[in-house]
Amino acid sequence: MSEPASSGAVRFQAPRRLFSTLEGVFNEELFFLILSVFIGIFSGLAVVCFRLAIDWMHLALLGPLPQTHGWRMFAVPSLAGLVVAALVLNVFPAIRGSGVNQTKAALYIYNGFIPFRTAIGKFICAAIAIGSGQSLGPEDPSLQIGAGIASALGRQLEISREKLRLMAPVGAAAGLAAAFNAPISAVLFVIEEVIGRWSAGILGSVVLSAVSSVVIVRWFLGSEPLFRIPVTTFKRPTELLAYAVLGIVGGVASVVFAKSIGYLRPRLKALPRWTQYFQPALAGLLIGLIAFLGAPQIMGAGYDSMDQAMHGQYAWKVLAILAVLKILATTVSFVSGAPGGMFAPTLFVGAMLGGAVGDIERIFFPQLTGSTGTYVLVGMDVLFAGFLRVPMTSVFMVLEVSGNYEIIVPVIVANTFSYLISRSLQTVPIFDMLTRQDGLILPSLEEDREEAILRVEDAMLPAPATILNAQDYVDANARRVQDSTDPNFLVRMHPSGWNIISRDQLQRLFREGKGEHTLGSVLPPQPLPSLYPDLPLDSALRYVNDYSLVPVVNRANSRKLEGVISRDSVFKRYESPRTPVGV
């Protein structure tokens, strides 16, 4: 009878041992990395469903052809606007607008908390709004859906608050990468706009989630880019002037676009609540009328029209009119409170503007070699850099989407002009402006860039005249400090490192008869921490309380003393951040 029981026990011991071994393997960092992959998978699946939902909604509401005709054009966006408004006001109050700033707020204010209801509401309402023709895009909602899924998963798993806070950007990167089919741009955008600062700690997770979500989307929807990339050419450096002009025009258009939203949004929000039930419907009616009167391209995200503009299907006048109408349509859609993103409309406006500027330039300068498609592609990035104010993302986006490095120089030149003009005419970037209109102040990479960073060298005092040597005898060192008034002395250790000794300690050692010992042999083995001149001054704070002097050494030669830091010098530097300590 005992035989079977014994074999059964053996049978269950092996899995238990494996289980306990696995338990030991997973620390929180590793677990978080693996979790990022799952966040990417779930976000990718959600974005696939979201894109199908938009397409289904478009088919059901506007019909099968790409360009709908007749009464549906203005009836559908209006009626769908009423439905969306009712849902937003009564069921999903947190889903208005883009979702980028809400995700950022979740990271910095709500400890990574995004209600799962927000993700569901964003999915449903954005699908209705975009599918019915509101001039909005699916990328920003995808970002928020991804962040919502990640946040819900983090809460479900009861991970630490620190990690839960990071779940939102990880999910946001996954959602955006899936929507754009471009993982690098998504990672950069999340760093530039959502996290708002370069943080190596989260980079691995963001990359993993973005890549895994893109794999899922490509598995289901294929790896085709959002539009067919035309043949792009850049032959003569003098043509950069033409792209600079495009950058200037794009910068001005970005400012007009951002200021329109910034002006109208708070005013419409301030209107009585009952009017908010009709705002998306009125926006839909206006968009429908524009479409009915001859510009159906402005409805929805508009990727088909961008594709056609890229291949020279529109004359420059049509391109210019479409750019203006799209700014108008997107502004009214967005400020009405309809949920949806601004990425696709931004690309649309940029594409049309780029094509128009390129065609006009070629009329006056026929020798320009860039095709309309090249200008359209550069125009997209110009608006991205100027309107969304994400210069890094915009440059990498064109590389990732086009797979072409030939136009990188025109893109950088045009983006620089657009970005600088936008920054000078519109101090606060669009997403920060939206956040501030909602009463929140969140960190921004652009602000960080402007802020002067204090470094150790700014608070550094000159190296003291008397530096003791660890290889010298205690009595010799005691003689050296006799004429000095300093209370503490740095000791250069052998073969490397630094230590510190006070005048009293040195005299006590001498009195105790240790004069024949080398100084290094009687000092405590714990070395004194040292700093480098280029380190942020914040890093000195952790030492100046414990040590009266902290050596600042040369990075190439740690025995070479550049200066010293003391608590007084650091505090003095913080008290007057504009004046160096030595001055």
């Binding site: 997973f26 799952f38 199908l52 043949v231």
Partner: protein, 389 residues
């Protein structure tokens, strides 16, 4: 309304990962099912739109066809057939702005299957529309050596013929010549194929090659009247008047309604009866022919002067100086006719005939293509000129 989840997952890393894996697999299966249904619906809709587009394209309603193909592509964006048809419709819509888009679709397809002959042929035609000889030639060659789904030999031959026609249209017969030679070696053994090739050789001004193709067609079908007429014309153009006479006579016998061949036969007959330099002609006959030609030349000169309103007996004017010069030449040469019989005057026939040829050529340039004996003399002069070169 609170939407909080009950805590379903125990806090143990391996179990969490197991549960997440199961959840991902379930989600994957569900989305697969959803996407499959969606794709099936879209493909069905795409097929209908595609058929509509094909009907529009075959009715030359290219704008409607483009809309339909675009709509079909929104349903099934990666469908190569839809892309190819859209590209063809864009190309055939006669809108130069659409060629870029057509090429973009085709390049996408080409990148996916560079060996696809149909795609290469479509690309070649786009570049041919643009007049880009180098690119079009490259894609035509790709089409010739690429993979055809059906009738590879026939399709390759058609692609080469299209390339030759394109090159000839672009005024590049030197580039067409090697293609013609390659075409000639790979033609199917049918008279029709050789007749078509002969026409291409004719367009390329390669009359020897043209004649060879007609002769090959006649070898396969000796009674083929088109081949007989073509061979006669080719031989005539290449200066082989004996062969031309033989073929044209057969062509007229085979098809008495063939007025062109009949007229050409008459001219050929006149050439053979009036050419003083033919090897079998006796001295007496040669002298007779030279005299006839000389007399005819003077007649032609007078007629041309009359036609252009020039009075050869009046004082010379700058505009009519060429005709006056010819008149002087003729008058100077006339006494030489009497010395033709002298065996010592070996260069005299050539000298007299040079005057005749100059008159025929100049009057042809001034008064237009002659008829009858004048045409025969002009052809003899051209043959003589070609032989001397």
């Amino acid at each position: 309304m609170s939407w909080s989840f009950p805590k379903l997952i125990p806090r143990s890393a391996p179990i969490i990962l197991l549960v997440l894996t199961l959840a991902a697999a379930t989600g994957f299966a569900a989305v697969s099912h959803l996407v499959a249904r969606y794709n099936a619906n879209q493909q069905s809709r795409g097929r209908k739109l595609y058929q509509q587009g094909l009907a529009d394209a075959s009715a030359n309603h290219y704008n409607d066809a483009i809309d339909a193909f675009r709509a079909a592509l929104t349903c099934d964006p990666t469908n190569s057939q839809y892309q190819l048809s859209l590209a063809r419709a864009l190309r055939d819509s006669n809108d130069p702005r659409r060629l870029d888009e057509a090429k973009s679709y085709l390049i996408t397809l080409w990148q996916r299957a560079p060996q696809d002959a149909a795609v290469n042929l479509a690309l070649a035609r786009v570049d041919a529309h643009r007049g880009s000889i180098e690119d079009a030639t490259r894609y035509y060659h790709n089409a010739m050596y690429g993979v055809w789904n059906s009738n590879p030999d026939s399709n390759r031959s058609k692609a080469r013929i299209e390339l030759i026609q394109f090159l000839l249209k672009q005024g590049a017969p030197d580039k067409a010549a090697p293609e013609l030679l390659a075409l000639a070696t790979a033609l199917p053994p049918t008279p029709a194929a050789h007749l078509q090739a002969a026409q291409l050789f004719s367009q390329a001004q390669d009359h020897a090659g043209e004649l060879a193709q007609y002769e090959e067609a006649l070898r396969l079908d000796p009674a083929n009247s088109a081949a007989l007429a073509g061979a006669g014309q080719a031989a005539y153009r290449s200066g082989d008047y004996f062969a031309a006479h033989r073929y044209l006579l057969s062509a007229v016998n085979a098809n008495p309604q063939d007025a062109d061949s009949r007229q050409l036969l008459a001219t050929t007959d006149l050439i053979l009866r009036n050419d003083p330099f033919l090897s079998h002609v006796s001295d007496a006959e040669r002298n007779r022919r030279i005299t006839t030609a000389f007399t005819q030349a003077e007649k032609r000169l007078s007629e041309c002067a009359q036609q252009t309103g020039v009075d050869l007996k009046a004082a010379a004017t700058p505009t009519a100086s060429a005709l006056f010069a010819l008149q002087s030449l003729w008058t100077e040469a006339k006494p030489d006719l009497t010395r033709l019989r002298s065996p010592a005057e070996t260069d005299l026939p050539d000298a007299i005939m040079d005057v005749v040829f100059q008159i025929e050529q100049q009057t042809a340039a001034t008064c237009g293509q002659p008829q009858g004996l004048d045409l025969a003399l002009l052809m003899i002069s051209q043959k003589r000129e070609a032989a001397s070169q």
